[in-house]
């Protein structure tokens, strides 16, 4: 089970509505994943700054944290709390200093994602409720991906929820399960990569991060996963400017895509796409197995 969604705006006018559409899409796949939900939105960047999405315990005082951080970092620091998460914006020269300061000042916080554009939120609970907690409906962005989880391999925890982000502005949602994740995790660890969980999807995310770090294009990295990942998967991947979809060669896990002049959308089921503007006229198709589909805002 599990449901995944993705939306990539080709028309800049759609960016203001991106969060609203993504929220509807997530809620429509509650039946497929009632345990937890998460999403990443590629929101407008802050000039010369990097966003760190933080997750803390309920009721955490993020404003006090920002005040404390100002003493440790050069340049402006701002924070925007949303429920259990907050987006911390620091000068791009201060990212390492910020991470070090966070480890000292707030060891109870988890950095769930970093990037120029990407903000990432995930929590246990029904998808519509998770979207409401973080006010997804009012977020803007060029593209976004989301996941509704029905846990089968590991416990219902926030750490087990998707998306997984293991590199700057990179995130991944996954429907399926990987069978060689332990082997691959060991091999990636030997190459110096670290893991926050025992989750199979995190291994796929780190695998792609490693390939991108080696200089491969997103398309080439995903094609590589066809050889190196064993198991069932439909992936939707976001990068700072890119949006991609890949299904394994067996393609057990369902997937539907739609494209118009204004957007490209992905849903585990067509039901997730029915409220998108102009869906009646969209080209609707089922992505082919073992085929990378990719869009880029720079193109």
């Amino acid at each position: 089970m599990c449901g995944i969604v993705g939306l990539f705006a080709k028309d800049a006018a759609l960016e203001a509505e991106l969060g609203a559409h993504l929220a509807t899409m997530l809620a429509s796949l509650s039946d497929r994943g009632p345990d937890s939900a998460g999403f990443a939105v590629y929101a407008p960047p802050v000039r010369d700054a990097v966003k760190l999405t933080l997750r803390g315990p309920a009721g955490y005082d993020f404003d006090a944290l920002a005040a404390a951080l100002r003493g440790h970092l050069a340049g402006g620091v701002s924070i925007k709390p949303r429920g259990t998460h907050a987006v911390l914006v620091v000068p791009h020269t201060e990212v390492t200093a910020a991470r070090n300061a966070l480890a000292t000042l707030a060891p109870e916080l988890v950095v769930v994602g970093t990037g120029h554009r990407m903000e990432l939120y995930k929590e246990v609970g029904a998808p519509a409720e998770v979207a409401r907690q973080f006010d997804l409906a009012h977020m803007q962005g060029s593209h976004g991906i989301g996941h509704t989880r029905m846990a089968t391999e590991s416990a219902v925890t926030t750490d087990g929820a998707h998306p997984y982000s293991t590199g700057p502005d990179q995130c991944l949602v996954h429907n399926g399960s990987l069978s060689n994740h332990n082997t691959l995790r060991r091999s990636l660890r030997r190459s110096g990569y670290t893991f926050a969980t025992e989750n199979d999807t995190e291994v796929a995310a780190v695998y792609l991060t490693a390939k991108l770090h080696d200089g491969l294009s997103l398309d080439a990295a995903l094609r590589g996963s066809l050889n190196d990942l064993d198991g069932f998967y439909t992936f939707v991947v976001g990068t700072e400017t890119g949006f991609a979809v890949l299904r394994d060669p067996i393609a057990c896990k369902p997937a539907v895509m739609a494209e118009t002049d204004r957007f490209v959308a992905f849903g585990t089921e067509y039901r997730a796409l029915t409220d998108l503007p102009g869906i009646e006229q969209a080209r609707v198709w089922e992505p082919e197995p073992a085929t990378v589909y990719q869009w880029d805002r720079r193109a």
């Binding site: 393609a251 369902p254 089921e269 039901r271 029915t274 609707v284 198709w285 197995p289």
Partner: protein, 235 residues
């Protein structure tokens, strides 16, 4: 556009799928309500399933999983795409999908005809048990997997592993076949095969539009499902 008159119009924005299906199941044998229209399907699952009546149901848009599953006698026409398992385990009747079909279309169908104007994804006609499937486009990989009886007619191409572990279903493919599955082989297109193919195309309303001679026939090599005592050591 032809004027269509409907005895009943069900708008799924206001009526639950269970109510639609129950109303169709409750049709009396002598009912005059033989032509139904379903509005706003919006990818909902299990539309028009388990029908057993001489009724035509037209679905105006995309349907979700298991549309027209277990169909008996009824005609279900989908003016859009269908999700996983359309017309699965159909017993008789006619299901016509104007768009594309997702995986496992016509799975385990025992009778009736499933006509798909577009493409069908993977595992079309998996474990077919006597139904007929006509796909005007192409079918995905593992189609007709373990198909036991019935026919699969494809005007386009077939994906990899066609007819894997097939029993006695008849496969007719006009385009290319990416690869044959275990124990599936090409067979000569004899006169009786041409006659069978022509009958199925006629039933699908395609007689005269398609040259039966352009198809190639595939079926079981019968090496896999028979126990050969000479090969006992290999088991």
């Amino acid at each position: 556009m032809t004027q269509r008159a409907f005895a009943r119009v069900i708008d799924l924005e206001h009526v639950a799928v269970r109510e639609l299906n129950q109303a169709l199941h409750d049709l009396a044998p002598d009912s005059n309500a033989t032509h139904w229209q379903v509005l706003n399907p919006r990818g909902r699952h299990a539309l028009a399933v388990g029908l057993d009546a001489e009724v035509t149901v037209e679905i105006e848009g995309h349907a979700g999983y298991y549309c027209a599953g277990m169909n008996k006698r009824a005609s279900v026409i989908v003016h859009g795409n269908v999700g996983v398992g359309a017309a699965e385990n159909m017993m008789s009747g006619f299901v016509h999908v104007h768009g594309d079909a997702s995986q496992a279309a016509g799975a385990t169908a025992r009778g009736g005809m499933l006509l798909i104007d577009g493409n069908a994804a993977a595992r079309c006609g998996i474990s077919l048990k006597g139904g007929d499937i006509v796909v005007k486009g192409s079918v995905g990989h593992m189609s007709a997997f373990m198909a036991q009886a019935g026919t699969l007619v494809v005007l386009g191409d077939a994906g990899d592993s066609l007819g894997d572990s097939i029993y006695e279903a008849h496969l007719y493919i006009r385009g290319t076949v990416a690869g044959l599955g275990a124990d599936c082989i090409e067979k000569p297109l004899a006169d009786r095969d041409r006659a069978e193919l022509h009958a199925k195309l006629q039933q699908a309303g395609l007689a005269g539009q398609v040259d039966v001679g352009a198809f190639r026939r595939y079926g079981s090599a019968r090496q896999l499902y028979h126990f050969h005592v000479d090969h006992a050591d290999a088991y």
